[in-house]
């Protein structure tokens, strides 16, 4: 028997290992005891197919087969050494791979029930599949498929990319980047369904169970987050809709807010299922929660915008076509730049004939959702800022959102103009110069976006969805924007906050002060040289420009040197005020 075992040991290949052979071997061991030869053969089986030999093998037998002839042994060793030196890389890698598998075969023995939180990659299901019927003696190896657990190196992974078989438990992909890469290369709907069902069941039954500890749940959410960055899993949205109504706002805060940007609702009403429970927590939580809420939804909008970006009309095209008669537009080919690829291409000015209707519907749906989301945030953020007394953190996160909204058309080609007036009006009264500077930049971006929208409408025949949060009509954007622009310029530059102007445009400063406030309200109270946000800059400017012995200095003295003061602010890293004034006042436009 030892010789037979030795011979089998030398002859056995991976495809020769089968379940019935393992069982026969175990029966033999039962009868005669753990003979070294039998253990050696079983060890080899375990190396090739660890799932068929799951029990632990004692490796006290270092030598399974005695060598009877010393001369033969030394001769064989010399020949092996000669071969090893001339082995090619592939053979050496195979040897290394076998060694790795041998080590893995020794180590594997976990707790009684080896239920790992995230299962490991294995091909246990092959055990059932390998037992082929007698009529068809075709092995999986001969089909050309390579089980994923047998891939040891990245080079081998790339080499056999089109033949790799997925592991038996696909949830292993949560921890395995290579498997995720394989999924992205070959997105099989059946495999994704396996993953979806596993995840759905876990979140339904285990996530809310007290038996699974907090750390594991956090770990899974983190893994899910990393996975969602590459794959859209519908279960994530359903999980959030189910979990958030009972969420306390404290557990898994980071993970939850990181998952929200990856939802893809089909309508705004569906998104409300996530927003409504978050809104309740928003109004009852601290400023940090509020900031995370705004940041998360900004990221959500940003992801959608990136996913549905379209071709962008360049500035040169705008200038060209604003001067062209509309009648002559038809038939002229124009060049648009695709932001994503950087390539330019000629486009039919009559527009979107080449795009299929499904894609158009999807884009319109996303635009509508974005529009409603912006209107929603406009209402919620204002209340949040009032509750937190205009905390700077909220101002910063809100400005991130405004910067995204104002550049949707220019940077991403999303035909959407949304003007959240309530938030903008709130930010105008900030006492932080950085906030006011970013706000000026946002207003300039809106101006540029509106000019681009005119080109899109007239030339590319591309409908632009626009709205102002306070007014549902589509044509109100220019009116409200002009009102906003006049308010900002009047407040910051011209020092004409409360002076009445023509009733064409609404103003937030349009009020009739009570008699006791007459004469007290100062038109120039919030300019860039007298406002509370600029006191420090005004003092510094006067210090630099006025004589040291000048006794009386006041910010009002800057008024006649406003242009120089703009340059001073630019030097202090606030060029936005100069950009706003130069782009929007006639006197400076001519310069």
């Amino acid at each position: 028997m030892p010789h037979a075992c030795h011979l089998l040991y030398m002859l056995t290949r991976r495809q020769d290992v089968q379940l019935y052979k393992v069982q026969k071997l175990l029966d033999l061991i039962n009868k005669v005891g753990p003979e070294p030869g039998l253990i050696g053969l079983l060890t080899l089986y375990k190396v090739y197919c660890p799932h068929l030999v799951p029990m632990r093998l004692d490796h006290k037998h270092k030598v399974f087969f005695k060598s009877h002839d010393a001369l033969w042994r030394s001769t064989i060793e010399e020949i092996v050494k000669m071969h090893q030196s001339s082995e090619d890389t592939a053979t050496q890698e195979r040897t290394l791979a076998t060694q790795c598998r041998r080590e893995r075969a020794v180590v594997k023995r976990g707790a009684k029930r080896q239920k790992l939180f995230i299962p490991e990659s294995h091909s246990a299901a092959d055990e059932i599949a390998e037992e082929k019927d007698t009529e068809t003696a075709v092995f999986s190896m001969f089909d050309g498929g390579v089980p994923y657990p047998q891939i040891d190196s990245f080079a081998e992974f790339l080499d056999k990319l089109d033949r790799i078989e997925y592991p038996s438990q696909i949830a292993a992909a949560f921890k395995d980047k290579r498997l995720q890469l394989l999924l992205s290369c070959h997105p099989d709907p059946v495999v994704l369904a396996r993953l979806g069902f596993w995840l759905q069941h876990f979140f339904t039954f285990d996530f809310k169970s007290a038996d699974v500890d907090h750390e594991r749940k956090e770990q899974l959410l983190q893994l899910l987050l990393e996975f969602s960055q590459h794959f859209q899993i519908p279960v994530v949205q359903e999980f959030l809709e189910s979990y958030l109504p009972s969420w306390d706002g404290l557990n898994f805060v980071t993970a939850i807010f990181s998952l929200i940007p990856y939802v893809q609702p089909s309508s705004f009403q569906e998104l409300r299922n996530i927003l409504d429970p978050l809104q309740k927590l928003f109004f009852t939580s601290d400023v940090y929660f509020k900031a995370m809420f705004i940041t998360s939804l900004t990221k959500l909008a940003s992801n959608w915008v990136l996913a549905h970006r379209g071709p962008v009309v360049t500035a040169s095209e705008q200038e060209h076509h604003t001067s062209v008669n509309a009648d002559s537009v038809v038939g002229v080919s124009r060049v648009v730049t695709d932001v994503q690829t950087g390539k330019t291409a000629a486009v039919d000015p009559r527009g979107t004939g080449s795009r299929n209707s499904g894609r158009v519907e999807s884009e319109e749906r996303i635009q509508t959702i974005l529009l409603h989301l912006m209107n929603y945030l406009d209402n919620v953020i204002v209340v949040g800022m009032r509750m937190e007394e205009d905390h700077y953190l909220l101002q910063t996160t809100t400005l991130d959102l405004l910067e995204l909204i104002s550049t949707m058309l220019q940077k991403f080609g999303i035909p959407l103009l949304s003007l959240p007036l309530q938030v903008i009006h709130r930010l105008m009264l900030s006492d932080c110069p950085a906030t006011l500077a970013r706000l000026c930049k946002v207003i300039n971006s809106y101006r540029a976006a509106y000019n681009t929208s005119k080109t899109c409408r007239n030339v590319l025949n591309k409908p632009i969805l626009s709205s102002v949060s306070t007014d549902a009509g589509q044509d109100c954007f220019p009116r409200h924007f002009n009102g906003l622009l006049l308010d900002v310029l009047g407040m910051l530059w011209q020092g004409r906050m409360f002076q009445g102007r023509r009733q064409t445009y609404e103003s937030i400063f349009q009020l009739k002060p009570s008699p006791r406030l007459e004469g007290v309200l100062n038109d120039r109270a919030l300019t860039i040289y007298t406002g509370p946000a600029f006191v420090g800059f005004a003092y510094k400017f006067l210090k630099e420009t006025q004589k040291d012995d000048k006794k009386k200095i006041h910010p009002f003295q800057i008024e006649e040197w406003k242009d120089n003061y703009l340059l001073f602010l630019e030097k202090e890293n606030f060029p936005e005020f100069k950009d706003l004034v130069f782009a929007n006042t006639k006197s400076h436009k001519k310069l």
């Binding site: 029990m55 055990e127 109504p245």
Partner: protein, 332 residues
Amino acid sequence: MAWSTPIYTPASGKFCSSTRIPRTPQSRRLIAPRDTFIRQREVTEDGYRGLLKKTWILYSLSPLYNFKTDTVSLKKYARSLDNAFSSERRPTLEESGPPEKCEFNVYEGLKFHESDNDALQIQVKEENVSGRGSTIVLTALFLCVNVDNVVPDNLSSHFRYYPVIMVTGTKSRTEVLLNWIERHFDCHSSPLTFNNADMQWMLACWCSQLEGTITMPVLLRYSVSEFCDGISTIDIRCEAPFCKELWDRLNGKEKVEADAEDVNRFVKAIESHHEYAMKILFSKLNLSEVGTSVAYVSKMGKLKLFSSENIYMALSFVCVAAQNRFQQLARH
């Protein structure tokens, strides 16, 4: 300073919107379709006696991938499960124990609807020490009774859905079995627990059926350990005919399907009666165990069947509860 637009606060209507209300079952069937039930009962060898008066532990399963119920496949599965048990029972080659033999077969008599999957039974037998015969040490049953298929049509050839597997046997063997199922069919298993709404449904609907002339009392066990020290549960026992009569008076004798309103009416009636008598607000407590002549169930997922006549109702409730929970996260 006057704002040109009104300021909305959380109390105003602008922020109020319909929140998503968790789905509750609309209505459930109380008795199996008569002719189907008779046909199914005749098919079983022992009239479901093998299922009755045993304590089963319930587990929910996600859809099984590549799971087949033909004879050849079941034999393969049996051999593979043998191997799993033998390696579990023999962590090293030096240790050994009596060998275990697994059998997979289709359990006839539980296919009440065309769309239900065939119930599948697994029996694990251990050879007796004396060498004569063997003892069944574990029995498991894959159940699919009155359940909608959660697998989309385009994937139905790859997946088979059994919402519940009920197991009777030792914990270690059960773990081996579940582990084996998860590893070989890429599914996820979890202990099936019931919430208060599920327990009330089962109480109400099982009380509506009176089994035989001598019946067990109806047991309502409320868990109070989280509210007060020293008392873990409070039991209420009622005569089964009394509960049956109450149901008939409230909802009608010949009711074939019950809805949430029927259930709430019945449970409220029982609880309010006992609240008046015992001065304990049972409506504020959660049911932890319910026992009727049809079946006994605990919220931790234990089930004991008593009635073969009403086996459909007992098993369908359990399967539908598991399926409804699973589908709470399913996309429409």
